[in-house]
Amino acid sequence: MLTLSLKSHTTFPIELSGITPDAVRDKSLAELEKLAIWHGREQLALAELFGLMGNTADEELEFSGDLSAAVGVGAKMKSGKIRIDGHVGRDVGLGMWGGEIEVKGNAGDGLGSEMRGGIIRVRGSAGNFVGGARVGSTHGMTGGTVLVTGNAGNGVGCRMRRGLIAIGENAGELVGHHMLAGTIVICGTCDKNPGAGMKRGTICLANDNNAQLLPTFRYACTTHSPVLGMVGRRLQSLGFENDVWNANRQWQQFSGDFLAFGRGEIFLAG
C-alpha cells in the first residue's frame, strides 16, 4: 500500500485526478515523488505536498490529512482501492470505471459524478450532485454504487442513467432530478421536489411518508415491493445498514414524472 500524507494544510485546490492506483501501479517511489501535480496555478512535485511511503504493487492508495481542497481524487480510476482518512474535496471518483474509494470523513460536491462503475463509500456526508451529471452533460452516473452513511446535498442522482445510490440519512432537494434510470435509496427524509423530471428509475424514501411530490406524480398503489427488499439486501451485503431489506414493509408507490416519460417510481414509507 502507498500512503500519501499531506504535509501541511492548504485551502488552494490540489488537482489529484491523475493519481489513481492503476495509473501509478508501475511507478517506483522515486518516480512518484517527482510526479507533477497542480496546486492552485503552480505545478509542484508530489513529494512537496505529500509524504510518500510504501509501494503501489497491490494497487492500494491511502491519503491522510485534511484533503478538503483536493479535487478529483480517484477520477477515472479503473481498478484498485483508494482510502481517504479524513475529509475530501469535490469530484471524488469523477467518471471512474471501477475499483473502490473509501472516505472516512465528508466528501464535497460531485461525488461519483458521471461514474461508470466501481464503488464509493463515504462514512460522513456528501455535498451536492452525488452521482450526478456535470453542468451541460446529458448523463450522470451510468453504473456503479455510491454509499453515503451521512447526509447528502441537493440533486442526488441528477440525470443518472444506471447504478445505485444510497444515502444513510437525509438528502436535499431535487433527488433524482431528470433521472433517466437507476436506483436511489434515501434512508431518512428529503427536501422538496424529489423525482422532478424523472423518466424512469426508482427513488425510495425509506423513512419519509410526507415528501412533497410534484403535481405530475400520481399515487399508484400500496405495495410490499419485493424488489425494494432485494435492493435492501444488496445494500446490506455491501455493509450498508438500512431498513429497506424487510420484504414485509409496506410502501406507497407513486408514478411519474408524467411531464417527462412517466415511467419513474417513488416509494414512500407506508
Partner: protein, 413 residues
C-alpha cells in the same frame, strides 16, 4: 453656459436606453432628462474634468505605481481571482479574459444568482428567446415571473410595453406571478408561495400538455386560476415570459424554458431574464464557457458552482483578487465578503462610484459612456455602442488591465 447633449446611451440597467438628454454646466452633468432614477444616479454630478486617482493601502499614489503594485500582488499569487465586470464594456472584458488566461487565474463575472441559474438551465434544456424589439412589436401576452421591472428596469413599460406594437392589434395583456404584489402596472396578479414555484410551473406545464392533475391548490394558487393562466398563454399569438430574481434555482428556470418550448408548439413564445447588461458573452466566445472559468492548468475549465467567486472565497481557494468595478460586491455572499476584506484586493473602480471596500490597490478608471466609449450587451444580447461624451485623460479599465498584463509579462522575463 449650460450645454445640452442629446441621445446619450445609458448602461445603468440591462435595457440600455439610448435617448437620455444631459445638461452640462462647467463640465459637470447638472441635469439628467428622459431617464429613470437608476440612470440619474449613474450620471448625475459626473465630472468631465475627472483625472482619476490611485491609492495603495489608502494612500494616494501615481497610477503607474499602483499598476506596479497590482502586478506584484497578482504575479506572486498562487490562486488569483478576477471578478466583477458587471456593466463592463466588451473591450474591458476582453482584456480581463486575456489577463486571466495569462495569469492562470479564475475568472467569474459578477452575475446575479438567478442569471447564473438561467445560464445553467439554458445549457441543460436550451432556450427560446427573442429581442426586446420583438417584445415591443409582437408580444400580446407578457408574463412577469418573480420579477419587478418597476424597480430593476424602470423604463421597460415606457419603451417596450406601453407603445402600440405593429402586430398587436388588440392591446397587450400583462400578468405578474410572484410572492408579493409589487408591480401595479399589470392587468392580473397571481400570488404564489415562492418555495413552491417549481410545483406551480409543473402544474402549468401539465395543463398545457394535457396531463391530469388532481391537486386543487398548488403553491397558494387554485387550480382553476392556473387553468385560466394556461389558457391565456395558449391563446396568445406571441407570449413573452420575463423572469427575475425571485426565481430560486436552475430547475425552476428550466421549467420556464420548457413551458415556453411547449407554448411554441402552437403559437410563438419566448423567455427573457430581467438581468443587467450581459457580462458573460465575451467569456463565452473566448473560452467556450460563460462564467466560473479556471485557467490554472493552462486551458479553460468550467464549473459555475465551484469556480464562482463566492464559493472560491468562502472555501479559501483564493489569495489575491482583481475586481473590475465595485458592482460585483452586491452579488457576493456575506461569508465571501468576510473573506474578501482579509485578502489583497486590486479594485478598478469607475469614476464617481465609491465602494465601502478598502482595497490594497484602488485605481479609478473612466466611466464607459461618459469618459470613454465602448460596446455593451443589452439584456437580450443585442450589442450597443456607448460613446465618449468628452475627451478624458482618465485610463480606461481595459488599458489598466492590459498594463497589468504587460507588467506581469515583463516581470516573468
Amino acid at each position: 453656459m449650460i450645454q445640452t447633449i442629446d441621445n446619450v446611451t445609458c448602461a445603468a440597467c440591462g435595457l440600455i436606453c439610448e435617448d437620455v438628454t444631459l445638461r452640462v454646466d462647467n463640465n459637470r452633468i447638472v441635469r439628467v432628462e428622459n431617464a429613470c432614477p437608476l440612470c440619474e444616479a449613474r450620471l448625475m454630478d459626473c465630472s468631465f474634468d475627472e483625472t482619476g486617482s490611485a491609492t495603495i493601502d489608502g494612500k494616494s499614489t501615481s497610477p503607474s505605481a499602483a499598476i506596479e503594485r497590482a502586478v506584484e500582488l497578482l504575479a506572486s499569487a498562487r490562486a488569483p481571482l478576477i471578478c466583477g465586470l458587471a456593466g463592463s464594456t466588451i473591450e474591458t472584458q476582453r482584456a480581463a479574459v486575456a489577463l486571466a488566461d495569462h495569469l492562470g487565474a479564475t475568472i467569474d463575472p459578477a452575475i446575479p444568482a438567478f442569471h447564473r441559474d438561467a445560464i445553467v438551465a439554458m445549457q441543460s434544456v436550451g432556450i427560446s428567446t427573442c429581442t426586446m424589439g420583438e417584445v415591443k412589436q409582437r408580444a400580446d401576452v407578457v408574463l412577469f415571473w418573480g420579477a419587478d421591472p418597476t424597480a430593476t428596469h424602470p423604463l421597460l413599460y415606457e419603451r417596450f410595453l406601453d407603445p402600440p406594437g405593429t402586430f398587436v392589434s388588440q392591446g397587450r395583456h400583462l400578468i405578474a406571478v410572484g410572492a408579493r404584489e409589487n408591480n401595479n402596472r399589470v392587468d392580473e396578479f397571481l400570488q404564489i408561495d415562492k418555495s413552491e414555484t417549481l410545483s406551480v410551473l409543473t402544474a402549468l406545464r401539465a395543463i398545457i400538455g394535457g396531463i391530469e392533475v388532481s391537486q386543487e391548490l398548488i403553491g397558494e394558487i387554485r387550480f382553476e386560476q392556473l387553468k385560466r393562466l394556461a389558457s391565456r398563454l395558449q391563446k396568445a399569438n406571441y407570449s413573452v415570459i420575463f423572469f427575475g430574481p425571485e426565481i430560486g434555482d436552475s430547475a425552476e428556470i428550466e421549467a420556464i424554458y420548457l413551458l415556453v418550448r411547449q407554448l411554441n408548439a402552437k403559437s410563438r413564445s419566448a423567455a427573457i431574464g430581467l438581468s443587467g447588461t450581459l457580462c458573460e458573452n465575451v467569456l463565452t466566445w473566448q473560452t467556450g464557457y460563460p462564467c466560473g472559468v479556471n485557467f490554472a492548468l493552462g486551458y479553460p475549465r468550467y464549473d459555475p458552482n465551484a469556480y464562482s467567486a463566492s464559493t472560491l472565497l468562502e472555501r479559501g481557494g483564493v489569495d489575491a483578487v482583481l475586481m473590475v468595478g465595485s458592482k460585483g460586491l452586491e452579488e457576493m455572499s456575506p461569508a465571501a465578503l468576510t473573506r474578501l476584506v482579509k485578502l489583497p484586493v486590486i479594485l478598478l473602480e469607475n469614476a464617481g462610484s465609491t465602494s465601502s471596500l478598502n482595497p490594497t490597490v484602488r485605481i479609478t478608471t473612466a466611466l464607459a459612456g461618459v469618459h470613454c466609449g465602448g460596446t455593451i450587451f443589452r439584456l437580450d444580447g443585442v450589442p450597443l455602442k456607448l460613446r465618449a461624451l468628452c475627451e478624458s485623460s482618465m485610463p480606461t479599465a481595459a488599458s489598466v488591465l492590459t498594463a497589468i498584463q504587460e507588467g506581469i509579462c515583463t516581470s516573468c522575463v
